[in-house]
């Protein structure tokens, strides 16, 4: 045995040797940890999904607030999936994953918000069809 104060073989018997983590993959953890994560993810997801379907049919929520409530619930559930199913964490081994995700979210936001914003303005500034027909006469 060398002058190491621990046994390296204890840690190399499992999968590859790893430094960083890729999403959906956590090193040196037992199957039980994965099962726990899956259970927690399923539990939170079921609660949020049921809440979504229920909020969509609820009549005592102020009508215009329902879409916003649904979007908030959806974002929460996406967060649950990222944490419990994809194993994205805030740890230093996850920096690259989180940065890539942040860039993806930025692009998605630009595409969605930009399209909706621009097209809504376009629709607002468009002359109503009947007036357009009147002018053409």
């Amino acid at each position: 045995m060398s002058n190491l104060e621990f046994d390296p073989h204890e840690y190399t018997g499992t999968l590859d040797k790893r430094e960083d983590h890729a999403p959906g993959d956590v090193a040196e953890e037992s199957a039980g940890h994965w099962v726990l994560n899956a259970n927690l993810g399923l539990g939170f997801s079921v609660v949020l999904t049921v809440a979504s379907f229920w909020a969509a049919g609820a009549h005592w929520i102020w009508g215009p607030a329902v879409p916003m409530a649904l979007i908030v619930l959806a974002i929460a559930q996406m967060g649950v999936h990222l944490v419990y199913f994809l194993h994205i964490t805030t740890g230093p081994d996850n920096t690259n994953n989180v940065l890539a995700l942040a860039y993806g979210v930025l692009v998605v936001f630009l595409i969605l918000a930009g399209s909706v914003w621009i097209m809504a303005h376009l629709a607002d500034n468009m002359m109503p069809m009947d007036k357009l027909m009147d002018m053409a006469r």
Binding site: L15, V35, G91
Partner: protein, 231 residues
């Protein structure tokens, strides 16, 4: 003493032992922050990390593509051209079933990877089979939905809204179908090739793919179906 004196692999092993939760600090002693973990001190990442990370980048680009279809639907929502509106074509009961099937398949997929990590072929196959069955149920429910709509004359060419609807929902359905083919391939590979390194890498990627599809479905059932049903 410094970890720079040790070969990288040993420094990593030491770090795993001293810093199991990867918090970047040591429990005791006057040593500096832990090496590795993306700080460039332990050499290139392992193939497993590179494969998973590369697939993660692909998935993000896939989600960006989905966001274009979402944007198209959001913009075209009112463009019904006198045809059926989105609230006319939503069947919430079927959507609830589809959502349950996909969520449970995601769960069972996570369990299959737990079994993979434990190198248990039987349970890996059992959970992958459950994942496949639930994914198939999802695809069949969606096919039934499309069939019912088309039979009643609600086709993609009827209005801008329906083009965007069939485009977005159909694109997701195609993803799930192709994922199902991939899943069947993985089951065969696990059976006949066992838990070789590259097979495990493929299973990691498949897990990521399947969970990402569920994330996209959250967006679809919220934006298209639930908000659509209420409008």
């Amino acid at each position: 003493m410094s970890d720079y004196d040790l070969p990288a692999a040993i420094a990593t092993l030491r770090r795993v032992r001293e810093d199991p939760n990867r918090l970047g600090r040591r429990g005791h002693g006057d040593a500096g922050p832990a090496l590795g973990a993306g700080h460039g001190a332990t050499g290139p990442a392992s193939k497993r990390v590179i494969v998973g990370y590369g697939f993660w980048i692909f998935l993000l680009s896939d989600i960006v593509m989905f966001s274009c279809f979402f944007a198209a639907f959001a913009v075209q929502r009112e463009a019904t051209a006198g045809g059926p509106t989105i609230s006319d074509i939503v069947d919430l009961r079927r959507v609830a079933l589809e959502t349950a099937a996909l969520l449970l398949s995601s769960y069972s997929c996570g369990l299959s990877f737990a079994a993979t990590n434990a190198r248990n072929r039987l349970w890996t196959q059992v959970f992958l089979a459950i994942t496949a069955a639930l994914g198939l149920a999802f695809v069949l429910l969606e096919a039934q939905e499309f069939y019912d709509l088309v039979r009643n004359g609600v086709t993609p060419q009827r209005s801008g809204m329906l083009t965007a609807f069939f485009g977005l929902v159909g694109l997701h359905g195609v993803h799930v179908s192709i994922g199902g083919l991939w899943l069947a391939t993985m089951m065969a590979q696990v059976q006949f090739k066992g838990f070789r390194t590259e097979i495990v890498h493929r299973l990691i990627c498949f897990n990521l793919f399947w969970h990402a599809l569920d994330i996209v479905w959250i967006g679809i059932f919220t934006i298209v179906y639930l908000i659509g049903a209420g409008s």
